[in-house]
Subunit: 647 residues, 2 copies
Amino acid sequence: MQRHLVIEAVAPCVDDGAYAVKRVVGDSLEVSADIFRDGHEQIAAQLRLADMRQTPLQWQVQPLQARGNDVYTASTTLTHNTTVAFVIDAWTDHFRTYLHELEKKVEALLQVAVELQEGAILLQRARDAAVAAGAPAAATLSQALDSLQSLGGDPVQSLALLRRADVVDAVHVHLPRLDLLSSRTYRVDVDRPKAVYSTWYEMFVRSAGKQVGQAATLQQARARLPEIAAMGFDVLYLPPIHPIGQSFRKGPNNALQAGPDDPGCPWAIGGAAGGHDAIEPALGTLDDFGDFVEEAQKNGLEVALDFAVQCSPDHPWVKQKPEWFFQRPDKTIKSAENPPKKYEDVYPLNFDCADVEGLQSALLDILFFWIARGVHIFRVDNPHTKPFAFWDWAIEQVHRRHPDVLFLAEAFTRPKVMGRLAKGGFSQSYTYFTWRNTAEELRTYLEELTHGPMRDYFRPNFFVNTPDILPKILQEGGRAAFKMRLLLAATLSPTYGIYSGYELCENAALPNGEEYVDSEKYQVRVRDWAAPANLSGLITQLNGIRRDNVALQRNDPVTFFPVDNPNLLAYGRRSGDNRILCVVNLDPHAAHHGTVSISDAFWGEHVPERYAAYDLLDGATYHWGASNYVRLLPDRQPAHVLSLAPI
Amino acid sequence: MQRHLVIEAVAPCVDDGAYAVKRVVGDSLEVSADIFRDGHEQIAAQLRLADMRQTPLQWQVQPLQARGNDVYTASTTLTHNTTVAFVIDAWTDHFRTYLHELEKKVEALLQVAVELQEGAILLQRARDAAVAAGAPAAATLSQALDSLQSLGGDPVQSLALLRRADVVDAVHVHLPRLDLLSSRTYRVDVDRPKAVYSTWYEMFVRSAGKQVGQAATLQQARARLPEIAAMGFDVLYLPPIHPIGQSFRKGPNNALQAGPDDPGCPWAIGGAAGGHDAIEPALGTLDDFGDFVEEAQKNGLEVALDFAVQCSPDHPWVKQKPEWFFQRPDKTIKSAENPPKKYEDVYPLNFDCADVEGLQSALLDILFFWIARGVHIFRVDNPHTKPFAFWDWAIEQVHRRHPDVLFLAEAFTRPKVMGRLAKGGFSQSYTYFTWRNTAEELRTYLEELTHGPMRDYFRPNFFVNTPDILPKILQEGGRAAFKMRLLLAATLSPTYGIYSGYELCENAALPNGEEYVDSEKYQVRVRDWAAPANLSGLITQLNGIRRDNVALQRNDPVTFFPVDNPNLLAYGRRSGDNRILCVVNLDPHAAHHGTVSISDAFWGEHVPERYAAYDLLDGATYHWGASNYVRLLPDRQPAHVLSLAPI
């Protein structure tokens, strides 16, 4: 059979179907494709969907609708947290082609005796196939054939018979689809909604104490949970809680020598008390961890654990599985380095070793170990320094048993490497947000994230700070900058996070960089969370606004509006009738004013002459139109977060 | 071995490499790809190229250069009319990674004894591979190993040895590329230059006579060749010259009944004198055709033949191969139809018949038959009503033996069907140009053709009219419209054409359509080519301008310039220093004036404050800047065609 049919431009897809598209439960999946053939014959096309986590695959079929210009579409709601496969089928619809031509000939009063014989042949073919399949439609088709015979070639009555819905349906189902063409199988990862919309708080358990110099335990840290939950966070991310190595332990401010009481860096994983599946004794026990997770859940907080694939020299694996590490010619194990710097407290793992399968399966076991203990979110440390293929495999293995598990990629590296990790299955990714400060930088970055192909596979998590990143704008901009960056993160991205201390506007940095002074990475910190001028009020308010406005919960395109002052950033996010418009003063040092121009595209129609703009921050109501004057002050009124409604 | 490497976003390619990219001999092929790996190791990448028409494939290798942001590029000039295959290879460059780190350690005066042992191991691996391959580099590497030994661990001297160019080269070539990753094979069809830049004239041989009512023969038609050549055309396209059927022969103006002397429609192919491999006796013999082709060549004209895959009821195949046609239940052969219309003078061929291989091979033989007689360009009639797969196959078969043969697709159908034919190998395609009249329509269409992905596979041929298409603008706009549309076609597209009679501004149409009155499709026409007010002067001038300006010979993006009057269309085309700027009055009924704004992008730098704009049509020289006032008159001065040069 000649190949007449073409299926092209299938969407959504990532790299022509090489990787899965990302969606969440409740999303509508809108499939489209260009489907056509040569000649004048009509075609039929259908969308097949199956849950890939079920075997055997059970395909659900729905018709694809022609939308003109050879574009076909179908829509379905994604109801399960799983991976969905979809395939597009197309074939020549000989019977519809035939009916269409017969209709025109009958209308034109042409002779159609031979055409009716052709119709009988098509009915026979469908009937024979229905008989072979034991389908009840065989009877319908046999009766139709008899009736056609008995009509003695009457054009109008014969046409009416052939067009009868039951006949058309029976032929549609049973006429052999000799030139059936199927697309490749495309995949859609349907995650739980938190994959897109979540609000993160990062804390070091040991710094949750009340007395200066005293490390807190997991039991003690439980006291912090209600406060964090009250601010509206729903994910509580803990840096590694595993035993910390003694060898080459780092002291305060990354000192090469630790003092006897220094707690060490949590990322130097493994010691006498165990490795990645153990708890640092200073924090407590596995049971304590279980209690902590349970208490967090009661407060609406899901605990996310760090997954750092590296070992301290004291990790049990160093003795048990030396072959999993990089062996040097002198039989020593190679520590991490970035020449000329050496990180002697950390050994990387060697994914090119002979027993890579053993190594990978041990790492997977660690994930399953913590999943069994209530951890269904992992923040993965530096995934880009481990093989892409490992993550592809490990995430797939986890999702086969636990499709709800989320992975956040902490890969502060080059764009394409970050993209590849996301394509490989990471549910969320850290971003360049902390280094995007100007209106132009923010607009360009958000358009890249939300308007282009990245939107289908890369879900941003806008952390405003991390233990490694205290950006210059925060170091220099004071409390006004902390407010401004918080406002941006919370309203630009459905997922964002803060690392504890942000709410206190902590901004003391080591010289020439972004490292915190007295970083918690190397020492215990104790803070007064109720210190004056803290931002917990604003944080609580913003997280409440996010919860009340679905427009802020989706990774949909962000619309930027022209402003005649580059210090002001204006943007809108919309979901159905929920329209949120933000204007933020990007300058923490000075007041700015300007005129914001609202586009028709954002309204989906002409911008109304007047509409209500209700400021969700201060309760003011404005009457806005197409052009609107705005004046914003650092700290005192750094932004409008407006809910728009027609008057 | 773990898969660390990624090759993505390879360009140029069509549909991810499913189809060949189109280029012509002399073009530079600029290949780029995103290439990266996880981790900190450095990578190496190369481009492999081979002539696909040679067996076995002989791969030429050149390095890909890193351009930042993980983008790698390489460039090569395409020197042969063939199909080129290219593949991208990437692998981890362990030795360069090692050297880079060693350098930093030596600079920092660190201990590198173990590192030098690691270097020796890399050298040994490369040496062993070189020995196994019997390569002379084995000696270099063995010597280097000895020297390294004898340096006794001296860091600076050892580093110098390891960095020696011959050592680095030998290791680069011979160190096993254990994680080598190769892309798929991408194809580039390298056509002869005429595939992009050609100037077509269509004529019916039988209408080349001098006496009204008298059909011309091929011998007589030779007299027209110098005149056509003198106008600057280089392709002479002849509608079918094969025997015309008698059964159901059409009369003048598509009358269902032909008179006894009516010559019939050339697309009703096949009669007593033969089929697709014969010459209509009224035109002459195969020898006459050979003389005609030879005479045309002497005049710089290449003859293009029509290839219409359909038969008159009198075609020899109807008796010899009835199985190649559509058989109806009453044993008759189905004629062409578009219900309720019937075209009883034409039988379509059935590519779904049992002997499709016999049919396809007979059609291919016809192409080879005419190729052997000097025809290396085919204008294919309605290719979209034959299987895509047939054209894919037939064009490939022809190109294996005759890569210089060009195919023009006459598919006036939906965009995606036209696109698929081009992807399948058609060298050029008819377009929607005749129906694009407003500035907005022309700009949108040209941007689609020359700015987006189509540019890599779809080469437009802007015919201003055809025997089937006398567009409304020409019917109503008179001589001014003929000039205007000619100017547009000749300067917007590197390939364009006219169907004879255009130069005489023939514009008499049948009512309610685009058909010519007394169309040559059904009768002989005789014209006075020297009639007053004919356009041969303007045609000659435009074709000369095209020949003198390389900017008009390439399918590069057309830049459109804003004008404050929608009746004026301003656009530029550029190749190196050759900058052509056209302003055309699109209204054949009235004078228009306006201001044209020239963009920096077109200059590749800031628009000069003043530059010379030399009008190639009337010889005037203007001093232009960023904004320029223009006034154009229908017919008298319908356009500027300006050559720009700095002052």
